[in-house]
């Protein structure tokens, strides 16, 4: 059962990632990424990380990717990207090195823990309780720090994305000399 789900999900996952890469339209890329994130959530369930599976869906699929879509639509950047690669050698090198990296890592996994080794015994008890216990005891300080981080990020986003407001200088609105921005069609 476990293995069946994995073998269904793994090709979907990798396929979605590859398709995301190949899509010329940003919206489709985002959708394939959402699909990929779903498969990851399934993997998390397979790995007994129920809480994180839920968080994965809520945070990534539910919030982050919607934000992406929102920005894509808001800016109207869903036009297709040109296929010509302007930097010489970039594409070939990138794919070649990427394959090299993947091969290296897979090799490392094979050498390190063996490809077919079964996992250790599943931890007993409720996953949520276990995560909560560790999160609010050992990691309570980092946890509080993340709240500060999120507040800072929220403020930063507001400052960055703000249009001119009450006489404050705006980072975005000063057009560079000699390059008037044309309005988005």
């Amino acid at each position: 059962m476990d293995l069946i789900v994995f073998w269904i999900m793994a090709p979907v996952s990798v396929g979605a990632a590859v398709l995301m890469l190949l899509q010329r339209n940003a919206v489709y890329a985002a959708l394939f990424l959402v699909l990929n994130q779903f498969t990851l959530a399934v993997f998390f369930v397979l790995l007994d990380a129920h809480f994180l599976a839920a968080v994965q869906v809520i945070v990534y699929a539910g919030a982050i990717m919607v934000l992406f879509l929102f920005v894509i639509m808001f800016l109207g950047v869903d036009r297709r990207e040109a296929l010509v690669e302007p930097i010489r050698g970039q594409r070939g090198l990138a794919i070649g090195l990427g394959l090299l990296l993947a091969a290296g890592v897979v090799l490392a996994i094979g050498l390190g823990i063996g490809l077919a080794r079964a996992p250790g015994p599943a931890p007993g008890g409720d996953n949520i309780e276990a995560v909560a216990r560790v999160l609010f005891t050992d990691y309570v300080f980092p946890f509080e720090l993340t709240s500060i981080l999120l507040i800072i990020a929220a403020v930063a986003a507001m400052v960055l994305a703000r249009r001119k407001a009450r006489g404050l200088p705006d980072l975005a609105d000063e057009a560079p000399a000699g390059r008037e921005p044309e309005r988005v069609p």
Partner: protein, 625 residues
């Protein structure tokens, strides 16, 4: 109470810090605050003194360690204050006279745009001087020493808008720096030979030093003293220092700065005594300076410059005393001098205040009727300076001359008498030209306000009654109090042909003679001194320019120095130094022109480099396992 000694320098220092940081808000109370702090410092000093008097004479040396400052290997220079009779006498003089000068300044500097900064510097000056006299090691002493130098620079050049003031400040700083450098080398030498900078160890080891080394250390330290105390040949800064506000001159001449040299020689007398040569040099420099400066003083028309040369001359006396081993007498003369010279300066300041800055004695005259208090103060100070019996200057000067005579140095004694004679002449001349006779210009002077005249009155009382503190070289209170530090005054009254009383009579007679001569020339009206000036123009000019020493320095040092500086600025710097720098810069620009091609400015290229590195790392890991 002794533990609180740190308050003595700390209080004025705190005042300086507060006034420097918060000068604007504190402006209205700056003068009062600064004076109060110095006053408080004086009170603490008195309390410590009372403590000190309560214990036996041998236990009167206490070291109070504040904190560790420099501690490197065997080198220990803690911030440690020394409480002993010598430092207490100095501290009391500094804080006491300093306090009066502060009070005087409140009115004198009233309305100055940099009022609070003035008091900040003044406080800092006092704090530095107190650090100097209270230090228990040579390094801390040097800190105070340089602090005093810095403050003198700041205060002499206080009205830096005036070119003369700015130049005078620089001159004071640079000239004393020559002596300071020598002194620093002396401190190094003392440390390298004795292994310590603490007074007890350095001076304790002085007796065992090779005479050459002792001479070297002593002379190097003495060079510092010469610079600070404006002795020949480093005296040229002091007359110019008159460009500063008059209370500053008073402070420099009476309480702080110039007395530091005398203090140093007395403090380090153990080293000087280890070397006959050094002591001889001290005495000779002192007496030569005394005569030279006295003669120059006669030639001055500027009242303050008269007083400046007078100070140089009197400091020469002190060095003479130190040079013949009469340290306690030297310090006593220092204290006495602090009183009457501060008094004279404050009187001169009062005159200046009244005449809107006119200080040329040839243009003054007849001021006594308009300014009786000032005139009386100046007269008392002048008489004390001239050494008229029963005033404080009489006792101290008499004791110096007696010490010289009793030490068997008749030559020094006679020269000292000459100097005393000259002293009487120039101070009488200054008084007569300023306060007596008819006014020689259209001025409307008026008596100074209370805050100025009261300190003058207090100092006047000091100048009159100060003699009670040290009426005799053997039994005077100050001398006995200083005894444990500088050695008991020896009673060798019978060494010469003349008795002590005889010496006093001779000295008094010389002083009176000088006054009489000056009166005959300038006060009696029987001699037309202006005609004499015209007749002996060349000699007068020589006197007024201090025998052209300054001009000689200018010709011999300053002019070639300027030429060398302008050569290195225009040729060496622009061609060689700038050329090298620019050449290196140009080379790097050219080199970078090649390297910058790597920076495409495209993020993705950089990311590719990331990937290259990551792949390489993974492969290395795989290969290694």
């Amino acid at each position: 109470m002794t533990d609180l000694i740190w308050l003595v320098p700390a209080l004025p220092l705190a005042g300086a810090v507060a006034l420097l940081l918060a000068g604007k808000p504190l402006r209205r109370i700056a003068g009062g605050l600064a004076s109060l702090l110095v006053g408080a410092s004086f009170v603490v000093s008195v309390l410590v003194l009372i403590d000190l008097l309560g214990v036996g004479a041998e236990e009167r040396t206490v070291a109070v360690k504040i904190f560790d400052w420099i501690s490197v290997g065997s080198f220990e220079a803690p911030v440690e204050l020394r409480v002993d009779p010598l430092s207490m006498v100095m501290a009391l003089t500094v804080t006491g006279v300093g306090f009066l000068i502060h009070v005087y300044s409140i009115d004198y500097m009233h309305g100055d745009p940099r009022y609070s900064r003035y008091f900040a510097y003044l406080n800092l000056f006092v704090a530095a001087m107190l650090t100097l006299v209270l230090a228990n090691n040579l390094v801390l002493l040097y800190v105070g020493w340089e602090g005093v130098g810095l403050c003198s620079y700041l205060l002499i050049a206080f009205w830096f808008e005036r070119r003369a003031a700015a130049d005078a400040g620089k001159k004071a700083f640079i000239v004393t720096r020559i002596g300071d450098t020598a002194m620093l080398i002396g401190i190094f030498l003392a440390f390298s030979t004795t292994g310590s900078v603490r007074f007890d160890e350095v001076f304790g080891a002085a007796g065992g030093l090779a005479s050459g080394t002792a001479t070297a250390i002593a002379l190097l330290l003495f060079a510092g003293a010469v610079g600070k105390s404006a002795q020949l040949p480093l005296h040229v800064w002091l007359p110019d220092a008159m460009e500063g506000p008059t209370p500053v001159s008073a402070l420099i001449h009476a309480a702080t700065m110039v007395t530091a040299g005398v203090y140093l020689v007395v403090r380090a007398h153990a080293i000087f005594e280890a070397s006959e040569v050094a002591l001889g040099v001290v005495a000779v420099v002192g007496i030569v300076t005394a005569v030279y400066a006295g003669l120059s003083a006669i030639g001055q028309d500027d009242l303050k410059r008269v007083l400046a040369y007078s100070t140089i001359s009197q400091l020469g006396y002190m060095f003479l005393a130190a040079g013949v081993g009469a340290y306690a007498v030297a310090i006593f003369h220092l204290v006495a001098h602090a009183f009457f010279k501060a008094l004279l300066f404050l009187s001169a300041g009062s005159v200046m205040h009244a005449t809107d800055g006119v200080i040329d004695v040839t243009r003054l005259g007849g001021l006594r009727r308009r300014m009786p208090v000032t005139a009386a103060s100046f007269a008392v100070g002048g008489l004390a300076l001239a050494g008229i019996p029963l005033l404080v200057g009489f006792f101290s000067k008499d004791q110096i001359l007696a010490a010289a005579y009793e030490a068997g140095r008749t030559g020094l004694w006679i020269t000292g008498l000459v100097a005393a004679f000259i002293t009487a002449i120039y101070i009488t001349r200054a008084y007569l030209l300023t306060f007596e006779g008819e006014p020689r210009s259209e001025l409307h002077p008026h008596e100074s306000p209370a805050l100025m005249s009261v300190p003058m009155a207090v100092l006047g009382v000091g100048a009159v009654l100060g003699g009670l503190l040290g009426a005799s070289a053997q039994t005077g209170r100050v001398q006995r109090f200083l005894g444990p530090v500088v050695g008991e005054p020896e009673a060798h009254a019978a060494a010469g042909a003349l008795s002590e009383v005889g010496l006093s009579v001779i000295a008094s007679a010389v002083a009176v003679g000088g006054i009489a001569l000056a009166w005959a020339l300038y006060g009696s009206g029987r001699v037309d001194w202006q005609a004499l000036r015209a007749r002996f123009g060349g000699a007068r000019r020589a006197l007024s320019r201090g025998f052209y020493v300054d001009d000689a320095y200018g010709a011999l040092l300053v002019t070639p120095g300027k030429a060398a500086a302008s050569f290195s600025a225009s040729v060496l710097d622009t061609r060689v130094v700038d050329g090298a720098v620019n050449g290196i810069g140009r080379a790097f620009v050219r080199l970078a022109g090649v390297g910058r091609r790597l920076q495409t400015g495209l993020v993705r290229t950089y990311a590719l480099a990331f990937l290259l590195g990551a792949a390489a790392l993974v492969l290395v890991l795989v290969v290694r396992t």
